[in-house]
């Protein structure tokens, strides 16, 4: 038995070594895919292009411009009027248009003084990125402006300290002063001034304190946000762990289906059936090589992801490898299943793509499951990749082991057993 399976595995590798294109596809495609996805599929936009239309040209607008210029994430253009700027936005030459109306004020009292911001929603990710950046910028600037207002208020309070009182201007006091010797009068005036100054100072202090309690503390205004696991919110850190799963499922499902259907198409499968090779030996002999290649791919993608894209691998590799094997067995079963219903390689290819595309879209690889309506979401929960992704992301980024995801692990194991069993039964029936 062992020698027959061994012969099958060896045969598969001889065939692959002669079929360089397929071999290259199996080894290089995942890496190329990873690099392409890693670099291209990023929602992070470093700089956005902003057209500023200044219709006010007042102090507030000039101040805002200075602030904008200091911000490195903006590429600014002030040369356009509103119509030109809107045109540039629609043609994609700029990402954002800021219109400062004639009555522009930073803290406007009326609607006509408000700044208007335009983004192009048809370029979804750019628009989201731009909104995010503008929001951050506005908060910065608002804080600065707020601080200035605060300082101004304090200035007003302080300026009321010196009341500018002149005792000699009061007639009653002058009359009283004549009853007292001039020297004593001076002393009295001095004492009075001191008492009053102290009272004023006290009063000013109280007012300042009161004001300070009314105006919020600048530093305390900022919410305390800690982004865990992916502090810089890099999309590549989110994509690579998912990509590991996608690559595995793609290679195994497609290659298994094609590999078996090719034997069917060329008539070699009949020779195998007529030989003493038993069905389970045939299945094992066919699946093992793809399993080995997929595991090599797995390590390759893992290595490239970690070294080239600096994606941290914080969790535990052993259990992750185990999950990968379960996941792979499921995909191999799916490939085998496809091969039982396909008559030729073209059909197998189409069917494989038919099972892979929904996984790509619905599994949460790119788009969050939470954002999907339940009408579609249930379909996502039928897909193995949906359960692999949380484990992969957890192990990569959250210092987890695969056993921290017992439900996902259980479902993947169930899928592996289910797919491979159904496929094997169907395949056997096909052979008979």
């Amino acid at each position: 038995m062992k020698s027959r399976i061994g012969a099958m595995v060896k045969k598969e590798f001889i065939q692959l070594s002669r079929d360089r294109r397929t071999l290259a596809m199996m080894i290089l495609l995942p890496v190329i895919g990873l690099i392409a996805f890693g670099y291209a599929v990023s929602f992070d936009i470093d700089q956005i292009r902003v057209a500023v239309v200044d219709q006010a040209e007042n102090e507030a607008s000039r101040e805002l411009w200075e602030e904008l210029e200091a911000y490195e994430e903006f590429i600014l253009d002030k040369s356009m009027n509103e119509e030109q700027a809107r045109q540039a936005l629609s043609e994609g030459d700029v990402d954002v248009v800021m219109v400062l109306p004639a009555d522009y004020q930073f803290f406007p009292q009326e609607e006509s003084g408000k700044m208007q911001t335009l983004v192009d929603g048809s370029r979804l990710f750019t628009a989201q990125s731009a909104l995010w950046k503008i929001h951050a910028f506005m908060i910065d600037v608002q804080q600065k402006q707020f601080q200035e207002v605060q300082e101004q208020i304090q200035g007003i309070v302080e300026s009321t300290e010196d009341l500018g009182v002149d005792l000699s201007a009061n007639e009653k006091l002058v009359a009283l002063g004549q009853l007292i010797p001039a020297e004593k009068m001076k002393e009295l005036q001095k004492a009075l001034e001191e008492v009053m100054a102290q009272a004023k100072e006290k009063r000013a202090e109280a007012m300042q304190e009161h004001l300070a309690s009314l105006l919020p503390d600048q530093e305390m205004m900022e919410p305390a946000v800690d982004v865990l696991y992916n502090p810089d919110l890099k999309s590549v850190h989110y994509m690579i762990p998912g990509l590991v799963g996608l690559v595995l499922i793609f290679i195994t499902t497609l290659m298994t289906a094609l590999g078996i259907v090719r034997e069917k198409e060329r008539g070699t499968l009949e020779q195998l059936i007529v030989s003493p090779l038993r069905p389970f030996e045939l299945i094992l002999g066919k699946l093992l090589p793809y399993m080995l290649i997929a595991l090599v791919d797995f390590l390759l993608v893992l290595g490239v992801g970690i070294t080239l894209f600096d994606v941290p691998f914080t969790g535990e590799i052993g259990s992750f490898f185990l999950v990968a094997i379960f996941f792979l067995v499921g995909s191999l079963g799916l490939g085998l299943l496809i091969s039982t219903v396909s008559q030729n390689q073209q059909q197998a290819m189409q069917l494989a793509v038919l099972t892979l595309v929904p996984q790509f879209i619905l599994s949460g690889f790119v788009f969050p499951l939470e954002a999907m309506p339940w009408g579609i979401r249930w379909a996502a929960y039928l897909m193995p990749l949906t359960y692999f992704l949380p484990i992969s992301r957890g192990v990569f980024l959250k210092e987890a082991t695969a056993f921290d995801f017992p439900m996902e692990l259980g479902i993947l194991t169930l899928y592996a057993v289910l797919f491979i069993t159904v496929a094997a039964i169907r395949f056997r029936r096909n052979l008979a």
Binding site: R4, G6, A7, I14, R18, R266, E270, V274
Partner: protein
């Protein structure tokens, strides 16, 4: 008996591909399966090797099996050596045994100089020989060949039949299908199929003896063929007239009807010949279809 086929029928949906067929095959016997396209030859062979299961009836097969399908069924990316080695291992042979058999078979098929060549780069005849070598590698008792001479040049065809004859002589039972009716002469026995039923089961040599008509060849009839044919078909007792190469062949009850031509033209060369297997089977077919008495 190596093979005992009893009342076997095979349906594809509503269509009956094989109808109630029975026959046996003994060791050392070469049994030809003949018939026109669509007669059910391949279906019958696939039933026997187990690639299909019968709708009715049973097939008992004994001993090791070797099978050469109609289409080339070996690995084109692998060399002759690799193919032989792979199938040897599938049959549980050890490396030493495979090497021994491989040498024998390579010498026997004449493939030895090409042992490292990938199967995909072999000629049609060489591919056939390789398939036979693979099928014979584990020394099967029963060898099933599906149209082994189809698409092979005349020289290779003869070589393939020489190999089959030797395999039979060595004691292996051979079941071989062919669409070339003349190849019946290499067989000990033939099954002639028509629409899934057994039209005739016979020993080729007796078939020739038992043919109820005479066959006459009019040599080099060339230009007069059309006129001769019309003349002869008008005569009583002429069953069929057809051209074969340069000759006109007449199948008739009595060869003397051909004398009608001598009256027309003096230098016709008329010769009585043995019936070909084509004559015999086409006659049987026409009789079955009720076209001739």
């Amino acid at each position: 008996m190596l093979l005992d086929v009893k009342d076997v029928s095979k349906d594809y949906g509503k269509e009956r591909a094989i109808a109630n067929l029975s026959f046996t095959l003994a060791a050392g016997e070469i049994c030809g399966v003949l018939g026109p396209d669509g007669a059910g030859k391949t279906t019958l062979l696939r039933l026997i090797v187990g690639l299909l299961s019968p709708t009715e009836g049973r097939i008992n097969r004994k001993g090791l099996l070797g099978y050469v399908p109609q289409e080339f069924g070996l690995y084109e990316e692998m060399s002759i050596r690799e193919n032989l080695f792979f199938f040897g291992q599938l049959h549980g042979m050890d490396k030493k045994k495979i090497r021994e058999r491989m040498e024998e078979l390579l010498a026997w098929t004449g493939l030895a100089p090409f042992v490292e060549r990938q199967a995909g780069y072999l000629s049609g005849g060489m591919k056939r020989k390789l398939e036979m070598a693979v099928a014979m590698l584990h020394e099967p008792e029963l060898l099933v060949l599906d149209e082994p001479t189809n698409g092979v040049d005349p020289v290779s065809r003869q070589e393939v039949w020489q190999m089959i004859t030797r395999i039979g002589k060595a004691g292996t039972g051979v079941l071989v299908s062919t669409q070339y009716l003349e190849e019946a002469r290499y067989c000990n026995r033939v099954l002639f199929l028509e629409k899934g039923s057994l039209l005739q089961e016979a020993v080729p040599s007796t078939l020739i003896q038992d043919f109820p008509y005479k066959v006459v060849a009019i040599r080099e009839a060339f230009r007069s063929r059309g006129r001769f044919s019309d003349l002869l078909l008008a005569e009583q007792g002429v069953i069929d007239v057809y051209t074969r190469g340069a000759d006109l062949v007449v199948i008739c009850e009595d060869p003397e009807v051909v004398d009608v031509l001598a009256r027309e033209e003096e230098d016709v060369v008329i010769e009585e010949v043995a019936p070909s297997f084509e004559d015999i089977f086409i006659h049987a077919l026409q009789q079955k279809r009720g076209e001739i008495p």
